[in-house]
Symmetry: D3
């Protein structure tokens, strides 16, 4: 099969669909691999690196969309890219269609076979291609939140871990899955006062056993959520709505109960 | 010198002023040691054990009060004991005179030289003879508090460490000295949500560094105390008033702000 | 369906079969729910709370037993309650029939369809309705045991965690399931010297990995049990005999080998 | 004495020299306290709060500089403030004179008696008024560094703690005092690969014992520094040069050996 | 069935195929058990212990090979033992045939039915009979490596955990299964600087969550391995090649990249 | 001053009195430094390294003993070295004179001024030059003990940390100073069952607080020692007898009570 990867054009996206190492493995498996010029610069991989791995460098993304049977990307195709997709082609990337009807319509119209990383499902309903992104999102949500709480960034001037004699910030993590666990680990590591809400007794038990008092677990319900969010300095929304961008943001009706100045964290892939 | 020890007569006191091992050392140092019959039974030491250590068994406490130059005890002398003290004699025991004017008057009248363990002071203002009792008191305060919170004992039906999905109890420890540190260790060990208040920045720093987020530290002041105590399920008063029974109980004006049902911990020597 | 819940009448039982929140969900699902007057007082839920949730308050338990298709309780029905059960009715509660032939006979005679919480089985043979009770039982067993070891409560005068220079108490936990794990966590948290016995290599490995030396694991057998129990200050029996009250008490033939004064822990639902 | 505090005018300074609580204590001790209108807004204290505490609100800073015997501030006086200082007056604030000859000259010329918080020295050469700021600086340096390493902020795109399968960032902390210890705690908490350099064997021993392998300690020397800094993703300069802003930045000759893209942390009071 | 066990004759093998306790269970299940004289001495079990358990002592291994339907051993049969195996007989022991063609040929020729412990497979592809040996091997590999690094044993003179001010040794564990996890636990416990490589994201996630920064996890690949091994003081090969001795040694082509003096750990069953 | 350092000639001694870095500092301070040819090879420092640091290489130790005003070494001078010492010269090295009357006599006869590192005393009676060696000795004692317990090395076949289902070894550390603390850290890290004995309440408290139940502390006395040593698999003698080799070995009269096969650890400088 002829497989191609293009330079990502969405703002602040430095990743690339295929690394030189994955090109090497694909070529070894009998495929031909085309790579757009400069596609790997964001991760420090030069065109020469791709060529050494057996890839062929192409000057323009258009060549790849036109000639490749499968296009491997990171982010959802932008409008200019969607216009080049076609029937009989496979698109392999993160899509997050749920909140994006325009993209969905374009994809349907193009006739492409689109596989969304975030919906590839493994044993036990695990999402193996989403998980690494969720780990990153969970960990980054806390450093984003910590920065947002600084006075110089418009926050309440609260340090997540406090200092001796000054109470730490209260961090409420809604959802104890991959994002929530990773966020809680970082928040605990910085010394914050962390509560994780979830509705699955097995998840609550696993978190309780892992943190052994360093973070608290709470069975989630309307009342529990309202109470906790109202006291929080930082709320991390970590609930996956399948197909939507993960982690989902805290819903609007919770916001009314939050303290003025509380920071709303959560960053999707 | 002729030294004597008597059987403790205060309710629930099982300790004894001299163990067979201390008798052996005193005799080796050239002293004569008299021991009241059965004085060591509470700690499992028989009269024969004392005799093997070089002590002499006496049938009655009266013999010891009458003939010994120094009497070594555990608890403050009871009225019947105080009547037997006399000028020229040394009494070596815990006294806690501050809240006990009646005892103070009797001791003054007797002419005895009374040395209170709790006021013997070492390097850096440490209280080496009080410290072991404070360690015990701090540790026991939490198990006493945990029991008092059980519904069957008239408490609020709160488990200190909660369970997965149920928040732990809030424990507020007032004072971060020996009692407070030991209480906090036990409360943290049971998974409670622990805040320690103190006014000494060095104490707060040491506790913050020790617990690293497992317990919170808070600079104590009227407002901080009122806020914390009002939310507490269990309050441990761990402030030493020199000369008074340690740890001192939470003062009455704090009580007004406590939640109904909160348990007031703290056990002195 | 018409569902009802009654006030628990067994001594020291403060729980209730249906909370206002569960009433709300049941009503939303199309059921009618009857609640005996005052049924929720032990958990702080008033009759008004139940009415707000859509329930109907009934003056007497007899109304509920007579008219409801399903009765939801906490504890096994007492003799006076069993007399009111009838064919065609569902009883949903903890039963623990194994050690209770009298109750078993009454239930059979009544013709009721009785579903015991403690035998509802989920994936992997888990017991999801028993587990929360086992978590509570395991955690409380240690605070019950700590109290029982106090001299003032007739114990040996041993503090679970010792103090600096004084060895901690030896706690032996028989069975590494939910009760045993939770008991071990609390005992470790208090600084005790903890050994957990089990016969399942996977359980032993999981515990060894969790505690990393803070508690010891030992493959259980007649000899190992005898040795460990003989040295213990506190024994927690945490073996589930399906259908019987959990955790099962240490069997009589172990008792012969215990040290005088050792405390026998273990509290069932 | 008449004591006054003014609104801080340096950019991004939200603190204030006297809180309402300190005003209350000063007034109780027999002083008169003047407060510039709006001085406490940055910490959420209104003029009314100060009046309730016994302070007198003044419309302009000029009144306070003109009439108060002691002026209590946070930051070093700005040029416009220095012009109002006068002989016989006490200025109590952070000064950091070492890198600031212009301020020094103005202060000398004014004849004011200036006491720099950062040089007030307690037992064992401790700096009790600098320490809380150093705790904050050390903790914030890591969240500043984490943010600076994000690709979107021009960094190398490295997450301090990595994720499973991706190595964490290397953090080198130069100096194991208050700033360095607090920075290391946060970096360790986020899962970074942390090395702390110092030249004092007692400091190295205390850090080694505290972190027990979670952070490494290294005796600092020219060669050790060069090697460590060359491999670092984030360097925290945490060496106090008495009188200068703490923590001192990494010196220029270290910079030559750093990896391109490494982030240089460190924030003074 | 008549079952027998013989004294192990391979150098430094002190274990035995059947303990007295397993003999007791086998006899209770209706089998006859023969035991070679002195077979249990290495584990402290006398012939009398076996007789008390219901076994029959035989003077020579030859009797057992000749008359027993199943022979239970620990190590692979040595040449002299293989000559006595015969058709219709079951041999139950560790075999590790992969690197041992000579043994394989002899077993085939003998017609014995040989069951290798290391290939008995349980749920989820677990190897329940190999696991305990892997736990021991993983834990011992670190103490073997620590000793090999001592100067007096020809090593580089590096202490695994360093001391305050001296960096710890770098330990690279290749493979995060049972051997690797146990090796990493011990290396971390001694304060070493530990990296674990694996290719299974679930394994990497589990290890990352367990060690929380105390050991690093790295996705394994040719480049990652080369880089890590080149910096290592100690390399633990912990990859199972099914059927071969576990843990497999580091392959020769890695060795070229190692630092001179690096120690190669890893001990099979 | 002219300072010299010689190659160490005692068996298995790879250290050297002056590193190139210390030579550089001494020269910078105005001294002349002579170094015997090859003196630094054991630590990987060439003659060229010393010359680059400002030292002068001398072919023979005799030149250095004859001409230098101060000789800096590591180990006590051997007989052939002692013969070259002379009045007016300073010898700066570890001496450990207490158990070595022959060396003592030679030193006295030579008229040299000998300064023993191990007796240089700092603030609070600390021994700053002995401490690093004690840290090494304490840490190595455990890996030496672990190896000695292996069956292949003549031990009891006990793994310090056990494995899941098998109890760990009991390690008794006599003395809670630098050696004892470091030994306990390593033993705890390997998962052993560790008890530390000491007679200083402050030491016991500090250890108890550091280990929080991972190691036990016990007030040392004749009876406590006898009981603990009798149950130990490994005994670490960690008591400093000032002037003697540290750590002192366990005394002979304890040995009578040890279990056969117990290993006696402890390694001096």
């Amino acid at each position: 099969m002829r497989v191609g990867t293009v330079r990502e054009i969405k703002n602040h996206e430095y990743r690339v669909g295929l690394t030189p190492e994955s090109v090497r493995e694909m070529v070894a498996a009998g495929n031909e691999v085309w790579v757009e010029q400069g596609a790997g610069l964001g991760i420090g991989a030069s065109d020469a690196d791709y060529e050494a791995a057996g890839g062929t460098i192409k000057a323009a993304a258009a060549d790849i969309f036109a000639e490749c049977e499968m296009v491997v990307k990171v982010k959802e195709p932008q409008a200019v890219e969607r216009a080049q997709l076609r029937e009989g082609q496979i698109l392999y990337t993160y899509l997050h269609l749920a909140p994006d009807p325009e993209q969905t319509a374009d994809l349907v119209k193009s006739g492409v076979t689109a596989i969304a990383y975030e919906t590839v499902t493994g044993e036990g309903n695990a999402l193996p291609l989403l998980k690494p992104m969720s780990q990153v999102a969970g960990r980054m949500s806390i450093q984003a939140g910590a920065t947002a709480l600084e006075k110089a960034h418009g926050g309440r001037g609260v340090l997540l871990g406090g200092v001796p004699g000054v109470l730490p910030a209260k961090v409420v993590v809604i959802g104890g899955g991959v994002v929530g666990f990773n966020a809680a680990q970082m928040a605990v590591g910085l010394g914050a006062d962390v509560t994780i809400l979830d509705r699955d007794p097995n998840v609550l038990e696993r978190l309780d056993s892992h943190f052994e008092g360093r973070a608290r677990t709470l069975y989630s319900g309307k009342a529990a959520l309202a109470t906790e969010v109202a006291q929080a300095d930082l709320v991390i929304g970590a609930i996956l709505v399948p197909g939507a961008a993960a982690p989902k943001l805290v819903t609007r009706d919770m916001l009314g109960t939050m303290m003025p100045g509380a920071v709303l964290g959560g960053r999707g892939d």
